[in-house]
Symmetry: C2
């Protein structure tokens, strides 16, 4: 049995719950079937197990190094990425016209989860590339797509996103990289970019950087940011590689985890090279000037769901490792067995180990359900026949995205901590994999917007957009689920009552926070709000799974019922305490003077 | 200003709150005064800053290696330990008759916290040595004390505790190391010990192992464990080092953090050496046969408070680093400032950063207060004039110890996670110290008994011992504080009402859990119980600090009021949700069949 993910669970989520085969009735997915979905999932699981998982530890131990000229990585990384490129998975969701597979987003996400469970460090390269390619597919010119996207789909070029600068991380308004226009319509870029994942390496023929920069004379702040393609090597008209562009690696960041992925400081136009005989990194504008951030945001929902998915996958593999350890590690005796000469019992027999396992299960299966549900919404947004359905999928996705990014990041990490705890001292050593999962997963609450940023996004923007339409829609969808649960009766009806109460409180608390129109007080509580609503949403995901399991009597389905029960009894009550706090409009931290900290 | 700990806070806790100078009226501490306390605190802070902190990262990067013969560590470790040894701090709390300083335990703990904040990896060597020496002082013969303890006090010998074996971690009943008696009264030991911190190195002249082993013919289980001194090098009658004993390093464990401390697998009597011409590691019995575990337990309270103290210290230094970063890192603008050309503001101006800082402050200052309070109880237990006071100090200490070990481990780690979060992407890199604090602190919920083990200790033993006398005493002490708070009025009275309610619920829930006399149900909830009661106890510590700050109007004291308010508003309500859960006698995880996980 795989210790990466549970195929049984994926099949349950995709088919019994999300009914993804129904998507094949839509034109975009008409070539697909349950068989093609199964085949690509099988392929992903096999590649992840055989090519990605085996070097996960090695790539962590021997992180990439830079000799001043080139970046060195363990050879298994390049081998794995070649296999991934050959598999066609890079273009899994893209149009057939560019060589893509036109797979539903939700199925592709289930495939990608295998790779993230196996090796987040190596997987990051193609996932960054997909984000880059998807952005160009949406906003690039046909020539740009031909020149840059096709080689990415073929696995020959990799891509990055270059947003942050040393003094401008969360605050993109302060980006200062400059793009000087040239007479031929091109640009020369000058500036420094920080935290660029996959920013340099020798793993692909070329690296396509998507760079936020300012065209002189544009408006200040985020409204003056434009987006540029800046390749590491210029590409000739025939597609062959030309000169070296002036994008130079200034240094590698050394991280706690995710160590297989290079994370770089890149200098643009510092004079190391003079492409086409002049200073400055040559770049092409994507779309129109000054619209760079909106293009980025266009792809942000999917990137953020991707982070949540990765966090869920890391949490999931940690859980399966902990479960396997708990079944096989003998230690101590069952309660009541007093004879010390009797054989030791596997630790899964100890109540607290069971509690830690069930907590992990409720976190990681809840997080996986949430991120796949969002992936399904992406498909709805893209392909639902009715315009209204597409719109409401988009609205719901907007509200759920900060939660789908943050909740799995927080609780996938918590699951990894519990996986260590189940292993005891062994789990703290690098001889066991769970300590790496924990280090790797600690990045997820930071990148693609910190926890705090997503709190502001949810409470300050998504919860009140269009007069609160998004939140009302979320409430309607949850209430539709609870209505089915009331009808089903039994335990489901009890959970539905709890959840109905939480929905009412979510709406009430949102109104209360904004009642005085004082953003300072409202937003001081944004992270607590994010966490509370996150628990409500994941409780909803559990009630959905419970209903999907109804009438099935296997151990698998009983496990779903047990984890659902655990979540409603152990976890959801946390949200109630948080709602109480939110209702009190607490200002303790805001009001305390700086010198009192 | 130091980024290790706040001397201002230590002075507040030790003097304004715990009134440690009053201890100097007792015979044992009669040579001491505020001046000697200040001097040893100054010395500790200086040594920690100058000798321990500077190589904290280096010793983590270049962890000890074993070439098959010797263990290699970075040279700064040996330098720091020599300075520590020369300072006399190893014997700080020990009797003057063995060269010790007879310092109150609470003052010594405040000293030791500086070293743990500076460098847990290097500090572990002397702290393990102190635990070893204290045990021998309590249970060793005068000859053993002369031979082994005096060189430890002088900083020449280091000590270890050898309890666990590969198949016997939490389950000491399963220890199998064998001690064969010799005609001369000595023993020869055979067996393998696992997880031995400081088990081998070249940092001291000798290593004194205290080893749990079985004398053949003794009872099975923990009642057949005896304690032995097994030195790495035999010690001649004149104190000089003799032959190499047969204790051999079988391997180093490679940990996520605490990497500066060797953690070892040791083989006893495997035949690498034949001391005095025969196989087996030569050992001396400590005290009487079969009483080894009770000797260990005698010292366990102090060792466990030491773990809590270290976790608090790591959390504390992380908080100070985050605060410093937040004051100096400009990013974004204050709420309402819309001009992107205006200068960026330090991130301490952002509400969520303030919330994360105040959460850290409430955790780490609460944890430090709790561990120092327990240190004060150790002094009471040892030196109170009245036998009744000594007894009640012991009883209260027994109840508080699992909390003083676990709560700081959990929330010191959480503080370190928030410190990373305040730093954003920088905090995740090894260029900043907070990521190491987080990795180092992750050990604390595991060693000296996992979280789960302490839950069992609290609910299964301490809460019900002597018909619940310990818990009643705790309730009385908390109620004595709330009575003062009611009298003080204002905010304190409000918190006191909350806390009175929590005390009532603690007693009620304990009774309810044990009402059916069904340990399976009670103990299935032991960890939740530990966490809930932990929050109540730390809320008590905050109310104590609030009262100690009364009538003082400085920024420091306002900070105490702010953190107290934060703890009562944001944190204590968590315990209420947990009490509700406990009252429901939840059995979800226990009842779910194994194959459903």
């Amino acid at each position: 049995m795989s210790l990466l993910l549970s195929r049984r669970d994926l099949d349950f989520l995709l088919h019994d719950w999300l009914r993804v085969t129904e998507l094949t009735s839509r034109t975009r997915y008409a070539e697909h079937s349950r068989e093609t979905f199964d085949a690509v999932l099988d392929l992903s699981a096999r590649l992840a197990e055989e090519r990605f998982a085996p070097h996960n530890r090695k790539a962590d131990d021997q992180e990439p190094t830079f000799d001043g000229e080139r970046v060195h990585t363990v050879p298994e990384v390049a081998d794995a990425l070649r296999a991934f490129g050959r598999s066609g998975l890079t273009g899994a969701t893209m149009d057939a016209s560019v060589g893509g597979g036109q797979l539903p987003n939700v199925v592709a996400n289930a495939c990608f989860a295998w790779f993230q469970a196996a090796n987040v460090g190596t997987s990051a390269y193609p996932f960054l590339t997909m984000g880059n390619a998807n952005l160009l597919l949406a906003h690039g010119s046909p020539e740009q797509i031909g020149t840059y996207v096709r080689p990415m789909v073929e696995g020959r070029f990799f891509g990055t996103m270059c947003l942050s600068e040393p003094h401008a991380g969360s605050s993109l308004a302060d980006v200062t990289t400059r793009a000087e226009p040239l007479p031929d319509g091109g640009y020369r870029l000058f500036g420094n970019k920080m935290w660029i994942s996959g920013g340099d390496h020798e793993l692909s023929e070329n690296i396509v950087h998507l760079v936020l920069a300012r065209i002189p004379g544009g408006p200040p702040g985020v409204k003056g940011l434009s987006l540029f393609i800046v390749p590491k090597h210029l590409v000739r008209a025939d597609g062959s590689l030309g000169e070296r562009n002036d994008v130079v690696l200034a240094g590698l960041n050394h991280k706690m985890g995710y160590r297989g992925t290079t994370n770089t400081l890149l200098n643009f136009g510092e004079g190391a090279h003079t492409p086409q005989g002049a200073p400055g990194a040559l770049g092409e504008l994507v779309g129109e000037p000054h619209r760079g951030l909106s293009y980025m945001f266009h792809m942000m929902n999917e990137a953020r769901i991707g982070v949540g998915l990765g966090a869920a996958a890391l949490g999931y593999t940690g859980y399966l490792h902990a479960l396997d350890y708990a079944r096989n590690r003998p230690q101590g005796r069952r309660l009541g067995v007093r004879d010390p000469r009797s054989p030791q019992t596997p630790i899964i027999d100890h109540a607290d180990v069971r509690r830690m396992l069930l907590a992990q299960k409720s976190y990681v299966e809840g997080a996986l359900a949430l991120t796949l549900y969002c992936g399904r919404l992406v498909d709805e947004q893209r392909t639902a026949e009715d315009a209204e359905d597409r719109d409401s999928a988009k609205t719901l996705l907007d509200v759920l995205t900060p939660i789908a990014k943050s909740w799995p990041s927080q609780y996938g990490l918590e699951a990894n901590s519990l996986a260590i705890q189940v292993h005891g001292g062994y789990g703290y050593t690098r001889e066991y994999p769970v300590e790496q999962f924990y280090r790797d997963n600690r990045l997820n609450p930071i990148h693609e917007g910190t926890h705090g940023i997503h709190g502001l996004d949810l409470l300050g923007r998504k919860a009140i957009m269009d007069g609160g339409a998004g939140l009302r829609l979320l409430a309607e969808r949850i209430t539709a689920t609870t209505a089915r649960a009331h009808h089903a009766g039994g335990a489901a009806a009890g959970y539905a009552r709890e959840l109905d109460g939480c929905v009412a409180r979510t709406l009430g608390v949102t109104a209360r926070l904004w009642a005085d129109g004082d953003p300072a007080t409202a937003l001081a509580n944004a992270t607590v709000y994010l966490e509370a609503v996150g628990h409500v949403v994941v409780a909803w995901m559990w009630l959905e799974q419970l209903l999907a399991a109804e009438g099935h009597g296997s151990a698998f389905h009983d496990g779903k019922r047990g984890a659902c029960r655990f979540f409603f009894r152990h976890e959801l009550p946390r949200a109630r305490a948080q709602f109480d706090l939110l209702e009190s409009l607490d200002r303790t931290a805001v009001d305390l003077p700086d010198d009192c900290f």
